[in-house]
Amino acid sequence: MNLNACQITAFSLPSGGTGPILIPAPKAIQAGRAFALLAALFLFAFGLAVVLLALDQQRVVDATSRLQDQTVPEIIRFQRLARNLEQLRQEGERIFAVSSQASRQQSMFVVTLIASHPSILEHPGAARLARETEQFLSEVVRQASADDRRPATRYDEWQRIAARLGMQVDDVSVQGINLANSDLNVATTAMRLARYKLMTALVLVGVFLVVFMVLVRRHLIHPLQRINQSLSTLSADRPAPEFGPSTMLEICAVEDSVREHHALLIQNEETRQVLEKLANKDGLTGLMNRRHFMQSAEVELQRAQRYRRPVTVAMADLDLFKKLNDTYGHAAGDAVLRAFADLVRDTLRQSDFVCRYGGEEFAFLFPEIGPAETEKLAERLRARCDAMDVALPDGRSVKATVSIGLADASECPIEIALKRADEALYEAKRLGRNRVVVSSSSAAKIDGEPDTLTGSLF
């Protein structure tokens, strides 16, 4: 069953006793949709706050318009009423102050007009007091026309009426001013509400930004960082990367791609190894092919010469192989070649290089040992070959021998060394086959410089 890593998450319990447990992860969603939903929610909430703010602002505009168009004219009307009441009081004072009856009558006329004026009559309290004042002053003026000293006697009475007029002026003034309170209260309340809503909207914006950043960080940035880290260390040598549960489909897709990429890397590595094997090995014997041997031997030879270490090369050729082929067939020849290759692998050291040089010819490179030690090793190989019976597919068995030529390679290029070994091989063939011959250029060295480094190997 193919399970999506984003839908099923595996992890081990801390105790580690019961092994991995599968639990369903939250259902994955598309990042675009998730953030679009979040943005839509925010827009709705912010839009609502803006609409509410606009409504409050409209209330303030309405209240101020009402204040200007209705309340202020009304306040001015109250002020004019207060002014008329004050004028009434002043005309009364004038009636008591002047000595001329004509002036008194003139003031009385104004008092009559004020007391009868619609601006006074429409205010019940002011109208009552104005009428009372008019009657009192009218009586005073009438009495004064008869006796000039009479007004003074009623001045105390007038003082009380004048005081009431003064208080009425105050009341009317305050009454007028208070008319503005209602509109101002509405505007103030709306402004206060607007301030709260504005703060709420700002907090909303802040919370949204924080939530947005947290979600982006948690569901996008962190997974991307994990993916980046996994990609930077992704290798066929390492295990497949492990990702935590992710809720974003896009992240899941990238994580799956990384896993697929890792699997592909491993597959490629396996393929590479197979191809390398095919490119470097001889198909029949499984030994190195000539090209790979020459590359490897060249590197090893340079290393040995740089550190002045002993190194020896050899050429080997199966004796009378053509005759064997002609007698038993190519399948028998192939079987002998494979058997010899197995014998070589079994006899030589791990560090020795050997390849099928061509046909029934083999090339060798022996690091860290000189021709003398190599000769012993080669001799052992020759002897084991001589003793070997090769079973053929048809049930028969054949025997094969090998001739080997050795040459010191510690002071010459690989080609020269191999040429010398090849000459030694021909010498072995010439001397009767099934033997090991050390190149003459190496023989002198055997006598003069005994190889002590690898003496313990045999």
Partner: protein
């Protein structure tokens, strides 16, 4: 430097904005009708210049509207026909908006509230037989008296109202409140010792407003807005204090 000069030229080329304090010279003047013998509402001062409560309110309204106003003097009886026929734009006189008048002209918002007074010797009451009542010809007071069947003595201007009583041609006078204020300043009139009675008839009291030509309905809104502004900004109250002893609005 050249950029600043260009900006200056552009600024100069711009037409004066509506908010400019400069009156629009190219805007046609409004023809305003006023009375010249109705103190303290409308009269000529010692220099012969027209002034008075109604005249100054009209000037303030024209200033608020930023229009040029040309003042023409007419009599009360000639006032209403001139407005109703469209010979003038505004009648800057405190007119009571009677039904008959409303049919002939438009009325702005009221600029003061008025009432009518009966001034007569003590004992002479309205409607008394054998009493001749003086009033300004063409006024609501004259119309009211005639409607009541009173014997009326019409004069041409408010300034002439005292004469019939002083000479004995009339025994009572029916006048608007503010005209009565002016009559009280005439010594000979005051010496008559007249008693004051407020006539509480609906057609004789109430809101007084400027008349507007029925051919200029677009002026109504502008004039009303200008009146509202001068009532709010204190201009109206200063005019009130200058000409009248108490607030008449």
């Amino acid at each position: 430097m050249s950029r600043a000069a260009l900006l200056l030229l552009l600024w100069c080329a711009l037409p004066a904005s509506p908010g400019s304090a400069v009156l629009a010279a190219d805007r046609p003047a409004l023809r305003v009708l006023v009375l010249d013998n109705a103190p303290p509402m409308s009269f000529r001062d010692e220099f012969g210049q027209l002034t008075g409560f109604s005249v100054e309110v009209a000037r303030a309204v024209c200033s608020e509207m930023r229009v040029n106003c040309a003042f023409d003097v007419v009599t009360q009886s000639a006032l209403l026909p001139a407005i109703s026929q469209g010979k003038a734009d505004i009648a800057a006189v405190g007119l009571l908006a009677t039904t008959e008048r409303r049919a002939k002209m438009l009325f702005a918002k009221p600029y003061y509230r008025s009432m009518s007074l009966w001034l007569a010797r003590p004992g002479i009451v309205p409607g008394q037989a054998g009493v001749r009542v003086a009033a300004v010809g063409g006024s609501v007071q004259e119309a009211y008296g005639r409607k009541q069947g009173w014997e009326m003595n019409a004069v041409a201007t408010h300034g002439e109202l005292a004469e019939p009583l002083i000479s004995g041609q009339a025994q009572a006078v029916l006048v608007p409140m503010i005209s009565a204020l002016n009559l009280q300043k005439v010594v000979a009139f005051r010496k008559l010792g007249l008693a004051t009675t407020v006539i509480h008839a609906a057609e004789l009291s109430g809101d007084a407003a400027f008349g507007i030509s029925p051919f200029r309905p677009e002026l109504l809104k502008e004039i009303n807005a200008a009146l509202d502004r001068i009532k709010r900004n204190g201009t109206y109250d200063r005019i009130n204090s200058r000409f009248l002893p108490f607030r008449v609005s």
